[in-house]
């Protein structure tokens, strides 16, 4: 065997896993298909302080563009609620630098990284269990690397995870399609701004993430099931770029601003995979669809998962037992901790997408910052009660939140 574990993908999940695993005495290799880690950026780049503090990391200044205090959510009629407290602090990152830094931390602990190295195929042993990866560096002749444990941290694409038998294909209902510009100038208040409205962003929202020097990431995400065309209940002409352009045209500050960068992507906003482990393999991070279904954020969750999975991998390594049973502890811990919050948020997402703009305005009128905090903590009942006063007809939609 060449290594104890091969990690496919050097994003936040893969790099965090590798750091902890290497620290625990495992011989780790990360392969990443990209020439440069963190590029292309496909993300709004927001990260809360929580996971960085819990993992006792000292985020270098270069890794983030600007610190943020919290979020401002804006109703279709323009009414806004600010949600800012100690727990909502965070950063808008520079993913290019952040991802590389996380990989460097793993290297500091003894992990190996190979960039521009694409995993082509999962090698199987005589019993059909994964036993290595066939890779190619920069499109050159493929070669084989062997390890008793393969970790897929591939993100949205997750083709190797599919080869290992995980059902990582997304349905349109479970993704948002997004387009984003980096724009300047935009005067912000160190708050992430989230604009809701079914005509502006059907089954999604527009975000403005502040960056340094009066820059901002201005993006839109809309539901994959409503995008492009009336077929399957979609909305004709609902595509992320034209809708974002429309939003910008109507925004006093942004209509004359310049765009510095165009990018986009598809994010997972559905339920996590139905299994995260099989014999000799684990799936972590966005590849396992471990993403917050409300905002599509996955960096903090990926880092948290990296630690959980690596601790279980170290135990498996010590016992020399990489069976599904041995690795299952990771899945069990994940589903009982971060997974609980994810399923509450999924429930909330599914309820919110049924609410009309007018109802949304009513909800924003009824709730305040502490209510918003409770909602994000998964305690829906008090806010539901407030909203139902004056609009009992919403009971049908909101009752799902009262269980």
């Amino acid at each position: 065997m060449d290594y104890d574990v091969i990690v496919i993908g050097g994003g936040p999940a893969g790099a965090t896993f590798s750091r902890i695993a290497a620290q625990g005495g495992m011989n780790v290799l990360i392969v990443d298909k990209r020439k440069e880690l963190g590029v292309p950026v496909r993300c709004g780049e927001g990260l809360g302080v929580g996971e960085v503090i819990r993992q006792d990391l000292d985020l270098p200044r270069a890794c983030y563009s600007t610190p943020i205090d919290g979020a401002k959510v804006i109703a279709p009629n323009g009414k806004s609620i600010v949600w800012a407290n100690d727990d909502t602090k965070g950063w808008v990152l520079e993913r290019k630098i952040f991802d590389k830094w996380l990989c460097e931390l793993a290297v500091d602990k003894g992990a190996h990284v190979k960039t521009y190295t694409r995993a082509l195929e999962i090698l199987k042993d005589g019993n059909g269990k994964p036993a290595g990866v066939k890779v190619s560096h920069g499109g050159r002749d493929p070669y084989e690397i062997r390890a008793p444990l393969i970790v897929s941290a591939e993100g949205m694409e997750s083709l190797m995870a599919r080869q290992m038998g995980f059902k990582t294909v997304h349905s349109l209902y479970d993704v948002d399609t997004c387009y984003q510009y980096e724009m300047k100038p935009y005067n912000h208040e160190n708050l992430i701004e989230l604009y809701f409205g079914n005509s502006m962003a059907p089954r999604g929202y527009v975000w403005i993430f502040p960056k340094c020097d009066k820059k901002a990431n201005v993006g839109i995400g809309i539901g994959g099931n409503v995008v492009n065309g009336k077929k399957n209940g979609g909305i004709d002409g609902a595509a992320p770029k034209p809708l974002l352009d429309e939003f910008i045209k109507n925004n006093e500050q942004l209509k004359d601003a310049s765009t510095l960068l165009d990018f986009g992507g598809v994010i997972s906003v559905g339920a996590p995979l139905n299994e995260f482990v099989k014999d000799s393999c684990m799936v972590i991070g966005t590849a396992a669809k471990q993403v917050d279904p409300i905002h599509g954020g996955g960096i903090g969750l990926a880092m948290e998962t990296g630690v959980i999975a690596a601790k279980v991998a170290i135990k498996a390594h010590e016992k020399k037992d990489y069976s599904k049973d041995s690795l299952y502890e990771y899945e069990k811990i994940w589903r009982s901790e971060p997974g609980k919050i994810c399923s509450q948020r999924l429930l909330l997402r599914k309820v919110l997408e049924k609410v009309s703009d007018d109802d949304l305005n009513h909800i924003f009128n009824q709730i305040s910052q502490p209510d918003l905090q409770q909602i994000m903590d998964g305690n829906f009942a008090p806010s539901v009660a407030k909203v139902l006063v004056g609009r009992p007809q919403l009971l049908g939609i909101l009752s799902a939140l009262r269980s």
Binding site: K33, P40, R42, G139, G155, M156, E157, S158, L159, R162, T168, V169, H170, S171, L172, V175, T177, C178, Y179, G224, V227, N228, G229, G234, A239, P240, K241, D262, F263, G264, G265, V266, S268
Partner: protein, 67 residues
């Protein structure tokens, strides 16, 4: 069949993530379509945030490949 306009592609791999048959993958620095695996379901066309994937006639596809 589908056709990808590579100039506008932002390499987000959204199409790969919804493709039920792994018929689109990143190869080198661009998305490549594997027509032999494609079942013409059109999910990639719908989901593409940059609107660079379109449905086309099979004959058009052949002409595109030969280019």
């Amino acid at each position: 069949m589908i056709k990808i306009k590579h100039e506008g592609c932002i390499l987000c791999v959204g199409c790969s993530s919804v493709c039920p048959t792994n018929a689109i993958e990143v190869v080198g620095t661009r998305m490549q379509h594997f027509p032999e695996r494609c079942i013409n379901c059109g999910l990639c066309v719908k989901i593409c945030p940059a609107n660079v994937i379109t449905m086309c006639k099979d004959a058009e596809k052949k002409a595109d490949i030969q280019k």
